[in-house]
Symmetry: C2
Subunit: 234 residues, 2 copies
DNA sequence: CCGCCGATTTGATCCAGATCAATGCGCCCT
DNA sequence: AGGGCGCATTGATCTGGATCAAATCGGCGG
């Protein structure tokens, strides 16, 4: 399901850069051709909204480039970021008729969009696609349980360290292993993901940098003391 | 997948009391017969362990009676309850080779157990069972997102009220609609579910009771001011 | 009926992280 | 180069919920 020019060579889905890590990895060549005919490659500028919590779910998406912020709002404006979608991630697992959360672009984002009806029909017709989707959902659920542990029982420093190691691992699985962790989201986004305030996030980053656990660089942080960080994450 | 005598009449799965709300609702009569041959009806006494986080996942379970506490532990003993499984709930969505959390019985519990291999084979052979499982996983994921919002951004009072309303709704969906919400779990379990301490849970209950929002009764609470509670849950 | 033990409630005090309040720093636009 | 505007950092203070510490309750075995 990854067919945007940004992510593809000339071969469409078949040469999609994120195909092997996405839900599409399970499809045969002819299924991929069918899929490609249903895909709407779309681009969102920085800050643009992909969809809004509570609105009717007309499309599902596969992220092919960029990072997407997923969040829920309370009526008084309190915000909880429920995740950051990276290339290869699928948005459309946790929705019935209405979107259960909002999604907007952090930096420029490319996706493959699929009309809900076509997506549902395809899933019904292709059991191994459904199996793959279910594996994704299962993995998401495991991550959600870990996030509950983090939100409910970890200190601010632990939260931040777990977040950094988690992002590092996710980028590594996408083929970008590095001691420098890109953080395209704002401090406020990180705070809303970890259940903290922006000030606490900022102070904790500063403290970790002062004690040389990390080095803060433009657009991210460099892991300087992975051993200590892994120990804290336990 | 609900075949324990406690939940059944004489007809096995077909007359299972929780079948219509469980994953088995999608199966035909002959599929149900097949399922019944694979099911191991099992009983757990209060406090018994169904399975432990990190151990190899040998079985999946469908709860037919009682309540199960699902939780993760940190090495230093901090605990996060990730959920309470009620009759009809399926335990086996969020696991790969090893259990991602521990589960133990709150009061006496009856389940249908299925060997992992047989379960996997059955799911591969029956796409509409997979579809049903995927719907369950999707629903779980939505609940997990709501729990993240609750853990990250809600106050102690809001947490408790959302918890009570959520439990009330879950019992209602199981055919037990009532203003009295049964709470078979301990205060410590509730605290570990909501990311609070037992003292804060106790004090908040007492305060809600003092202002006549709830009435504390043996084994649960009675909702006295549903309007105010719904308003707080927003 | 009594004594015990774990669960719960209640009280006093503490503190991690929130809130309130300035600055500081890039970066784009002119 | 200057100036304005988000974002981020830093500092001072406050507070919701944690922690420490007793009671009190309730069920069960003897």
């Amino acid at each position: 399901m990854n067919c945007h020019p940004t992510a593809c060579g000339d071969g469409g889905c078949r040469s999609c850069m994120v195909r092997l890590v996405s839900v599409c990895a399970s499809l045969t060549d002819d299924e991929l051709a069918l899929l490609e005919s249903l895909a709407h490659p779309t681009h969102f500028a920085s800050g643009a909204t992909l969809f809004t919590q509570g609105r009717e779910a007309h499309s599902v998406y596969n992220v092919t480039a960029g990072v997407v912020r997923l969040y829920k709002l309370l009526s008084d404006g309190r915000r909880q970021v429920v995740g950051f979608a990276l290339p290869g991630d699928f948005l459309g697992l946790a929705m019935r008729d209405a979107y259960g959360f909002s999604a907007d672009a952090i930096g420029d984002v490319a996706v493959c969009a699929f009309a809900r009806g076509a997506y549902t029909a395809l899933v019904d017709a292709k059991p191994h696609l459904l199996k793959r989707l279910h594996e994704f959902a299962t993995h998401e659920l495991t991550l959600a349980h870990e996030q509950m542990m983090l939100l409910g029982r970890r200190t601010a420093e632990e939260k931040l360290i777990c977040f950094l190691l988690g992002m590092q691992q996710r980028w590594a699985r996408l083929g970008k292993p590095s001691v420098t962790v890109p953080l395209p989201m704002t401090r406020q986004d990180i705070a809303d993901f970890l259940g903290l305030t922006i000030e606490t996030v900022s102070r904790t980053f500063t403290r970790l940098a002062r004690e040389k656990t990390i080095l803060i660089v433009p657009g991210g942080v460099r892991v300087m003391n992975a051993a200590r960080m892994s120990a804290v994450a336990a």
